[in-house]
Symmetry: C2
Subunit: 410 residues, 2 copies
């Protein structure tokens, strides 16, 4: 019989997030009278902005006529979008990124999952803890994680705690690692690092020849002047970092599927024969072989976000969720709970009261207030003792959830 990838067998059978979904759905079925407000997952609620909608209609029109029909685009993405991104997200902000260094994807999750393809199987990987589970799970699938211990830690992964104890500022790994995943503004904690706090990570990678996999999916939420929106704002980052971005949380493209990856020409790895090789070249080969580009319609919608009207719409949408985050943060804080994030981020990270576990507090919030959160333990061992709330609901639901959270301590 066919042998399967033995690394897949190591993944735990039950995925916390699907278990949570089941618990919520069972609760909803058992208590139809409860008005449940879902603040657990990171999906948006606001409709697409007018410029994106118009771009979809126009793309459909072009696809409907032979003279303007577009078939296969370049696997790397249409040039019109790559140029808009390079100018709009980088060059206009004084950051050196060329259109050729941008790879359009169907969303950051795909590329973050697939990037491991081009890296040596024995690379030593570091992740912050708590962490977006995709970094860990894809490391497991690629055989880089070792075995799962009873403490919830994988033997070959290096965990970098990010908790109240260190003020949510991770410390550099003490040993040498080959790959470091960082997500800032952070999912799940909603915290950020300043330029000064991020620079040592870039320097560490330059010193050790490590690769920095920088997930900037939430960069649009940055409002603080000392927090970078791109890793390439930092000197030396072009030699060590790949940056992943998404239109999902920026412009509500969760259903439309569009993101991009920046792979600077200056990134170099070592071939088995010891010769240097461009990571850009390997990724291009990976993408041309296993991917056929993102939808033309989605790419047209994405390009529309870089027009003056599109920029304003994106800013309005981000501000809508930032205001939700502010409302949540204030009411949670007023209720006496400790809360982080929600300033330069759509995520809030709340400490459980009375020594409750994250699962217990999750259950309490669901049963008492009908509010769905995500237990922090689902994001890693150091997520225990916290729950995550997202600001992606409607204003109305957010106000109601904030009021219920404020009730919690009374």
């Amino acid at each position: 019989m066919l042998k399967v990838n033995s690394d897949y067998c190591k993944l735990p059978g039950s995925y916390l997030f699907s278990e949570i979904a089941r618990i919520v759905s069972d609760f909803a079925a058992a208590h139809p009278e409860v008005d449940i407000i879902r603040m657990g997952i990171g999906d948006v609620t606001q409709p697409l902005c007018e410029p994106a909608i118009r771009a979809i209609h126009e793309a459909a029109e072009r696809l409907s006529r032979a003279e303007t029909f577009r078939g296969y685009g370049p696997e790397q993405g249409h040039r019109f979008l790559r140029e808009a991104i390079a100018e709009g997200d980088y060059r206009s902000r004084g950051i050196d990124v060329s259109p050729d260094e941008i790879f359009i994807s169907d969303g950051a999750k795909s590329d973050i999952g697939n990037i491991g393809d081009i890296i040596s199987a024995d690379a030593r990987v570091a992740v912050t803890d708590p962490v977006y589970p995709v970094y860990v799970d894809t490391s497991v699938m690629a055989g880089r994680a070792g075995t799962l211990g009873p403490d919830g830690r994988w033997s070959r992964l290096v965990y970098i705690p990010v908790t109240e104890d260190n003020g949510f500022v991770p410390r550099l790994p003490e040993e040498k690692v080959d790959v470091i995943y960082l997500c800032y503004p952070n999912n799940p904690t909603g915290t950020t690092l300043t330029r000064a706090q991020l620079q040592p990570w870039v320097d560490y990678c330059r010193q050790h020849g490590s690769l920095l996999i920088f997930d900037a999916a939430y960069e649009a939420y940055v409002t603080s002047a000392d927090v970078p929106r791109s890793i390439y704002e930092l000197p030396g980052a072009r030699e060590v970092a790949i940056e992943f971005r998404s239109f999902s949380k920026t412009a509500g493209f969760t259903g439309l599927r569009l993101g991009y990856t920046v792979m600077p020409h200056t990134l170099v790895g070592l071939e088995c024969d010891g010769n240097p090789v461009s990571l850009h070249r390997l990724w291009l080969r990976r993408q041309t072989t296993k991917f056929n580009g993102a939808s033309y319609v989605s790419q047209c919608a994405g390009a529309a976000l870089y027009t003056p009207e599109g920029r304003k719409s994106v800013a309005d949408g981000v501000n809508y969720y930032l205001e939700n985050a502010r409302l949540l943060r204030e009411s949670i804080s007023a209720s006496g709970l400790k809360v982080w994030g929600g300033v330069d981020s759509p995520y809030l990270w709340v400490k459980t009261p009375d020594g409750l576990t994250s699962r217990e507090f999750f259950t309490q919030l669901l049963h008492r207030h009908g509010i769905v959160t995500t237990p922090g333990a689902g994001f890693g061992p150091s997520g225990e003792g916290y729950v995550r709330l997202t600001a992606f609901n409607t204003r109305e639901n957010t106000i109601r959830a904030a009021a219920r959270m404020a009730e919690n301590v009374k």
Copy 2:
């Protein structure tokens, strides 16, 4: 410095298809007076059908209003599309496939490239020769191909010739292999296998516990009654085969990006501990971890193809290209050249005259007639001595190309 995936280093630096593209573009620049007709690549030319266009506009409308907005869909695809496919492509034809067994993708190339993720790294792989290069290249990237020999063959791959010598009917491998890639109707040869000719492959896989990776991207072109459109028409196939399908060549979705993979619940592999494991479960885990679903807009357009009007449009589109194929086939045949395919397929496979190599004949056709083909050698060692033409051009260009081909021998 970071070590890269050493299997990527094995891939030959220059990819024949990009080299061909460069040759054609150089020729075009040097001979602006030549009216070049491109019959080399498999991209479509006809606009999207009216039902698909309408569905895109309607999807955009829904995404523009909060009440009807859709964010993340299930990674496996929206249920409305999976049900339409299960009913339209399988159950209505008496084939047992359930919506739960269907995974919507952003195109067959992605899933065919990624399917290797769930298979053991040391699996022994067989491919027909000539072959769609993605099967070989992704096997190389996964470390299953061994080393490239001077004869253009990878040491660990089993090559199954499909040539004039065996009437384009491949023989079963003599040794035991774990994975077999088959594409029927075939790319690049345009030939097909009857149910009776395919059944031994299913039986072989059942006998040896092998996995059949069946690429049915061109099934819509089947018109002959004894040629199956799905591998699951054959008894036993549900125990051994994964089927990949695409809307690219069926409905012109090359730019829209939509396909699907059928993963029957009855497919079982062996875990490292020797226990059986459902491949469906592993693939679901792969997709939920590394993919976030195809674009909602594309999925709506796909569902529209299963309405009565959509079905008619798809049939009309396929018939348009089949008529192109017939015209090409007749003129090539009349010119005295040997040709295969083009009956149940949009591809034609032409034997080079006078013992020319495929590159020489490619060059001759480009220089004498301004017709771009693809040299068969690009598809594998047994592709030498043939060129491929596609029927995806416009009727007008096809008629002109057919006339020029007929000129060839005069």
